[in-house]
Amino acid sequence: MSVLHTVNKSPFERNSLDSCLKFAQAGSAVLLIEDGVYAALTGTSVEERVKEALGSVKIYVLGPDLSARGFSDQRVISGISVVDYATFVDLSAEHGKVQAWL
């Protein structure tokens, strides 16, 4: 059963996203939450890395954390799905295992 990986830190502050993407198996899912949401935005120095990952994993970003930081869905990289807390719960249940990258 595929894993749901979560990343909660900014890709500019820590290498958690980088490590997560390195070790996440193809077909698994990555959910960006808290400061991790910054990796979902267009125009950043990590955009290419994230777009490349979309080729093998599904990427989600938590909407309320984006809004809190002043960003709307429109600034999210195409292919990344914006989800709410209810969907976060559904995803966790659906995947069976959640691996957090702190």
């Binding site: 900014s10 502050e13 954390d65 002043g70």
Partner: protein, 136 residues
């Protein structure tokens, strides 16, 4: 309150909400205003995210403290610097940031926006010139 005046810099490098650093830094600026020092705020790395417009925290159950940045003029802070390279690495421009107004209460001189985007050389100079740096 004190006759010694030093150049204080508050160096902000962390994003808001994910950790408490951004909020704590702002609180220290406000409280420290009582000491009438020469204050400047510097935003580099993820610190630039503290100044983004349109922050709406209703979905995450945390207090939105971004309006407080706009009151900094009332605390006589008029030196607010943002590192251009940090903005660019994050796909941001000054348009994405709030404007902070400032007014001199004696001369009534008004400045529409005291947020200054600077290049790294200037940031380096300003850090060097500071006598005390508080890092957050």
């Amino acid at each position: 309150m004190s006759e010694i005046v030093k150049k204080f810099m508050y160096l902000n490098r962390k994003a808001p909400y994910g950790t408490i650093y951004a909020w704590e830094s702002l609180e220290v600026v406000l409280i420290g205003a009582a000491f009438d020092q020469e204050v400047s705020l510097m935003f580099v790395d993820d610190g630039v995210y503290q100044l983004t417009k349109g922050q709406d925290t209703s979905g995450i159950g945390m207090k939105n403290f971004s309006p407080t940045y706009r009151t900094l003029g009332d605390y006589e802070v008029k030196n607010i610097y943002v590192d251009r390279a940090s903005l660019e690495a994050r796909g941001l421009t000054q348009d994405d940031l709030v404007a902070i107004a400032w007014e001199d209460f004696e001369t009534e001189e008004e400045v529409e926006n005291i947020v200054e985007v600077i290049d790294s050389d200037r940031a380096r100079e300003l850090m060097e010139e500071s006598e005390v740096v508080f890092s957050f």
